[in-house]
Symmetry: C2
Subunit: 364 residues, 2 copies
């Protein structure tokens, strides 16, 4: 019995354009052998930086291309977060964000995430109560782990609060291109019109492939210059070979084709997952996401998801417990990633999960 | 007039095997599309890790492959160096090492570098005087910036001192494969026979190309496991595409061919440089290196190399002032990198440098 993994937020190989990558590599070495093989500088491969700047309609000076967007997060945290600094995160949020902030001694304030995004009223009450956060970390689209998307109205409220209370919004947006339903909302970066309130991060991990490790930050030019200094001191320059490959992949049209492939697959997978869950585990509560990789599932309050995790592993199915994404609570929740599993695997995996749930007992 | 740069330690494009890289990329995507495009883990691309382990005759558990060896240095410093910790460096040494140690608040002790390596007697006196360093950073082969190589006898002395006084030797060895004259000496890593005294770093920047950003650390398995945890928290995993390309490049024989190409070119360049300097600037004192990228030049004591730097720039020739590699002194010294310049450029560049030197005046 092979393991079916709803655990890892990564694409299955069938939705990675390996041929397109091979051709992009061929062109990178042929068309710009010097730029592809030399050190370059810490801002990244210049043509890719320019492509990203044009796509976001910002000046190139506001962009730095890094070895994946988590490295970008690390630089930004190193720059902005000192021990004891207050930082706002969503509740739940990405486990590695929590870890990165904890490692830097941040005072983490988790604000409830609702299906239309962070509870801005609760955040406002915190701010009015005197909290002075350095930054708010927000995953606006198809949030990891919840799959929820921040509404336009809440984006506006959040920006207004950040301006009034002078904190930075760190808009962490790796999934934005993967919307398979509904209309794309404007980024807070674009809504802020360059006033310096927002630092934006995104990545090619979900649209090209994770192994390429190319991400980027967009922010005020002076902030980006500080990140550049940190990056130079850490690794001289990021991976030029990988960035030159991504540049070719983007400019040839392969990126847009790849995004269509990924979106079609994710849309089908989430539909299969929702239908299977409704049929096999009718107690499960969830909001099917409009894009991205993840669906958050709540089981009846007294369900022991830690026990379910073990029972599921015994049946060859893996997921991540909701508690991993929380500072406290959530013992009845779990995250299901549908990015790395085919519809047939999803059907099989949900059946196994249902069997595991019966074995640990479902509270009435 | 185009600028002739003796400043940057990087290869000229004519000694980079671009065709071999293109073919290696083609094979990486074809033969292991899954491993090349997926996240992998922070230890690096498994087949490359195994190749490196075999080449150094160590267990794979002792190797971690990183985004360039400077990133490896940064992880090691983060792990070992706390503010106030004493660290031994060579005098002169790589400017980015000094910066990395300063940024971490290390108490830096620079010990004179002689043509056969660090002055181990002076180091012993420091240790007997009560200094308790956490580590000694040593570039054993064709040192940057001096071009000097640590003798076998001094390697043995250094190991004995490290064992007796319980500090780690950080053997930073990116140039080892680029010996164009004489016999390769054993690494201190191999001489230590896995006793944990040595952490070793090297890189493919000088043998494949810098833009590929692949380096590695070898050390005690428990230390490497700690670095792995740091790496996971920083970037999840390093660049799998780049590491899969390097793996194919190494295993196909392209690496060994590339090393031969680079060594032949460097040997010719250093010969040209030495001859031109002797003819054009007879006051210059230097020891032609047996490998690597760099030659250290001392001018008569009262020479103002800072003024020479400006006069040289006016004549379209660049170098790095010796003071960049020192905590103090060295105002009459400079580093000439010959890796990025052809013999014809070297001839021209030395003539310009001699003219610049006459313009600022040579002390009698």
């Amino acid at each position: 019995m092979s393991v079916i993994s709803f655990a890892r937020g990564a694409p299955s190989l069938d939705i990675v354009d390996v041929d397109g990558l091979r051709e992009a590599a061929e062109r990178a070495f042929t068309e710009d052998p010097g730029g592809t093989t030399a050190y370059g500088t810490a801002i990244g491969y210049v043509p890719l930086r320019e492509w990203i700047a044009a796509r976001h309609d910002v000046e190139a000076e506001r962009v730095i291309v890094t070895n994946g967007s988590m490295q970008a997060d690390a630089f930004l945290f190193d720059l902005l977060v000192q021990p004891g600094d207050a930082v706002i995160v969503e509740r739940p949020t990405y486990d590695r964000t929590l870890l990165g902030l904890r490692d830097r001694g941040a005072e983490i304030h988790a604000v409830e995430l609702e299906p239309d995004g962070i509870d801005v009223d609760a955040l406002e009450r915190l701010l009015e109560g005197g909290l002075r956060p350095k930054l708010a970390h927000i995953i606006p689209n198809f949030q990891n782990p919840a799959g929820y998307t921040l509404s336009l109205a809440k984006r506006e409220r959040l920006l207004a609060l950040a301006r009034e209370h002078e904190f930075t919004i760190f808009e962490d947006d790796p999934y934005v291109a993967l919307r398979f339903r509904g209309e794309t909302l404007p980024t807070m970066l674009s809504m802020a019109e360059g006033d310096g309130t927002v630092v934006y991060a995104s990545s090619f991990s979900k649209t090209v492939c994770p192994g390429i490790r190319v991400g980027y930050l967009i922010g005020p030019a002076d902030r980006i210059a500080q990140v550049r200094t940190l990056a130079t001191g850490t690794y001289i320059s990021p991976n030029m070979v990988a960035q030159a490959i991504v540049n070719q992949f983007c400019r040839s049209g392969a990126l847009d084709r790849s995004i269509e492939t990924v979106k079609a697959a994710l849309g089908e997978r989430v539909q299969t997952l929702a239908t299977a869950l409704e049929r096999e585990i009718p107690e499960a509560r969830f909001t099917p996401p409009d894009g991205g990789y993840f669906m958050w599932v709540e089981l009846p309050e007294a369900t022991d998801v830690a026990a379910l995790f073990i029972a599921a592993a015994e049946r060859g199915v893996a997921f991540v417990k909701g508690t991993e994404f929380l500072l406290d609570g959530g013992e009845n929740t779990l995250r299901l990633a549908y990015s790395g599993v085919t519809p047939a695997q999803i059907e099989d995996g949900v059946a196994r999960l249902a069997d595991a749930l019966r074995s640990v007992g479902v509270p009435a």
